[in-house]
C-alpha cells in the first residue's frame, strides 16, 4: 500500500508538472505534426505503396516522439537538486521507477493516440475496425519502449552527452520490441485476426516482462550512481 502510494505520488507529480509546463506535450505534438507532413509529401497518395510502409512509419513516429519524451523524464529532477531529494527519500527506490514509468506510459499513449488520429486523417485510413487489436499492439510496444527508456533516461540524466547517449543506448535494446510491433501492426492493419500475430504478441509481452523486471531490479543502483 505504501509502495503504491509512493509510486502514485511520482505519477501525480510528473503529470502535474507536465500539465503546468506543457513542455514535453507541446514539443511532441508539433514534432508529430511535422513528421506527418514529411511522410505525406514523401509518399504521396499511392495507397499500395502506403500499405507496405505504413506500419514502419507509424512506429517510426512513435519511437522518435518517444525518444524526445523519454529523454526528458528526469529534467525536472535536475532543478533545485531534486534528484538528491529522490535519493534521500526513504523506502524502496523501485517505487520511483514504477511512478516514472507509469507517467511516461500515459504521456506516450496520449501522444500516440493523437498521432494515430492524425495518421488516419492524413493517409485516409479507416482504423475503426482494427482499433482494439491495434490498441493492444500499441500498448504492449509502448510499455517495452517506456520501460527501458525510463531506466536509460535515469542512467544518462546526469551525463553531459545525455542527448547523444540516450538514443544510442536505447535503440539497440529495442530491436525485439520494434520488430514485433511493426510485424504485428502490419498484420493488424491488413485485417488479420489477433490469433495470426499471437507469436509476435508473445514476444512483445515477454520483452515487456523482462524490461520492466530489469528496471525494477536495477533502478536503485542507477539512482545511487
Amino acid at each position: 500500500m505504501i509502495y503504491a502510494r509512493r509510486a502514485w505520488a511520482v505519477v501525480w507529480k510528473d503529470l502535474l508538472v507536465e500539465r503546468r509546463s506543457k513542455e514535453t506535450l507541446n514539443a511532441l505534438a508539433f514534432f508529430s505534426l511535422l513528421l506527418l507532413f514529411v511522410f505525406q509529401f514523401a509518399l504521396g497518395p499511392d495507397r499500395e505503396r502506403l500499405a507496405g510502409v505504413l506500419p514502419g512509419l507509424l512506429w517510426l513516429g512513435f519511437v522518435l516522439a518517444g525518444l524526445l519524451g523519454l529523454g526528458r523524464t528526469f529534467v525536472a529532477e535536475r532543478e533545485n537538486d531534486c534528484w538528491e531529494g529522490l535519493l534521500l527519500a526513504p523506502g524502496d527506490k523501485s517505487a520511483i521507477y514504477v511512478g516514472k514509468l507509469a507517467g511516461n506510459l500515459l504521456l506516450m499513449l496520449a501522444v500516440e493516440a493523437m498521432l494515430l488520429v492524425l495518421f488516419a486523417v492524413f493517409f485516409n485510413l479507416d482504423l475503426a475496425g482494427v482499433l482494439p487489436a491495434l490498441g493492444l499492439v500499441v500498448v504492449l510496444g509502448t510499455l517495452g519502449l517506456a520501460a527501458v527508456g525510463t531506466l536509460f533516461a535515469a542512467m544518462t540524466a546526469n551525463l553531459r552527452a545525455r542527448e547523444l547517449l540516450f538514443p544510442v543506448l536505447l535503440l539497440p535494446v529495442q530491436v525485439p520490441v520494434l520488430l514485433a510491433t511493426v510485424k504485428a501492426t502490419e498484420a493488424v492493419l491488413a485485417g488479420e485476426p489477433l490469433g495470426a500475430v499471437a507469436h509476435w504478441l508473445q514476444l512483445l509481452a515477454a520483452a515487456d516482462v523482462v524490461y520492466v523486471t530489469a528496471g525494477l531490479l536495477t533502478f536503485d543502483f542507477v539512482l545511487e550512481g
Partner: protein, 211 residues
C-alpha cells in the same frame, strides 16, 4: 554528537565542508573512516540513516512548477506517509508560508524555498538536520526565523550539522565549532567561551593559513 547539539563546520572554499555533509547524508561514500548516524552505519545501512536525517543543501529539493502545498504533499507521500491536509497547512504555517501555500514555487525567493524545504522536516521530524550555508541569501527577518527554528529543533533533542564560512547566526546556534582545512578537521572546540572575534582568529590561523 549528542542529540540537542549543533556543530558548525567552518572552512574556506574547497575545505571539504559540503563533502562531509554529503557523506553524512549518505550521498557520498567516505574513502576511509566510519560514519554512524542514529546508530546506523551510513555506508552499510544508508536507508536506515536516511530515515533519521534531513538535508537542506544549495538546491532546496523543490519543484518549480508545483505550489508549496503540492511540493510538501509530494515529498511526504514519497516518504510513504499519508499526511492530512490540516497537517500540511500546519507545517507551512510553522515555516511562515501559509499565505503562499497555493503559489507556485517558481515565484518564491531563495529564502522562501529554503523554508519550504524545512517544512518537510517539520512533518518528518528527523533526528539530525544537515544544513549547507543555511543563512546565506536570507533577509534579516528570515535569518531571525531560521535561528529560532534551529534553536527549537535543538531544544526538541535534534542534532544539527551546519557547513558555513560566515560567523554570524550560525555561531549563535552552534554548541561546537569544527574548522576544516584540506579535507581534515584542523580544530574542534566548544563554542561557548569563544566570541565571534575569537572564532575569526582561529579560522584565520587554521583555515586560511592552512597549506
Amino acid at each position: 554528537m549528542a542529540g540537542g547539539e549543533a556543530v558548525a563546520l567552518l572552512g574556506a572554499n574547497g575545505a571539504g565542508k559540503t563533502t562531509l555533509l554529503k557523506i553524512l547524508a549518505t550521498l557520498l561514500r567516505p574513502t576511509r573512516g566510519r560514519v554512524m548516524v542514529a546508530g546506523h552505519d551510513a555506508v552499510r545501512e544508508p536507508e536506515a540513516v536516511r530515515r533519521h536525517l534531513g538535508l537542506v543543501a544549495h538546491g532546496a529539493h523543490v519543484y518549480e512548477d508545483l505550489t508549496a502545498r503540492e511540493n510538501l504533499a509530494f515529498w511526504t507521500a514519497l516518504g510513504g506517509a499519508r499526511v492530512p491536509a490540516a497537517d500540511l497547512a500546519a507545517a507551512l504555517a510553522a515555516v511562515e508560508l501559509e499565505r503562499h501555500a497555493g503559489e507556485r514555487v517558481r515565484t518564491f525567493s531563495a529564502g522562501m524555498k529554503r523554508r519550504l524545504s524545512l517544512a518537510r522536516f517539520v512533518l518528518a521530524r528527523p533526528r539530525v538536520l544537515l544544513l549547507d550555508e543555511p543563512f546565506a541569501g536570507l533577509d534579516q527577518r528570515a535569518k531571525k526565523w531560521l535561528e529560532e527554528y534551529l534553536q527549537a529543533f535543538k531544544a526538541g533533542g535534534g542534532a544539527i550539522v551546519m557547513a558555513t564560512h560566515s560567523f554570524g547566526r550560525e555561531l549563535a546556534v552552534a554548541d561546537r565549532i569544527a574548522i576544516l582545512a584540506g579535507g581534515a578537521i584542523a580544530l574542534e572546540a566548544p563554542r561557548a567561551p569563544l566570541t565571534a572575534d575569537d572564532v575569526q582568529r582561529l579560522y584565520a590561523l587554521h583555515a586560511e593559513d592552512a597549506p
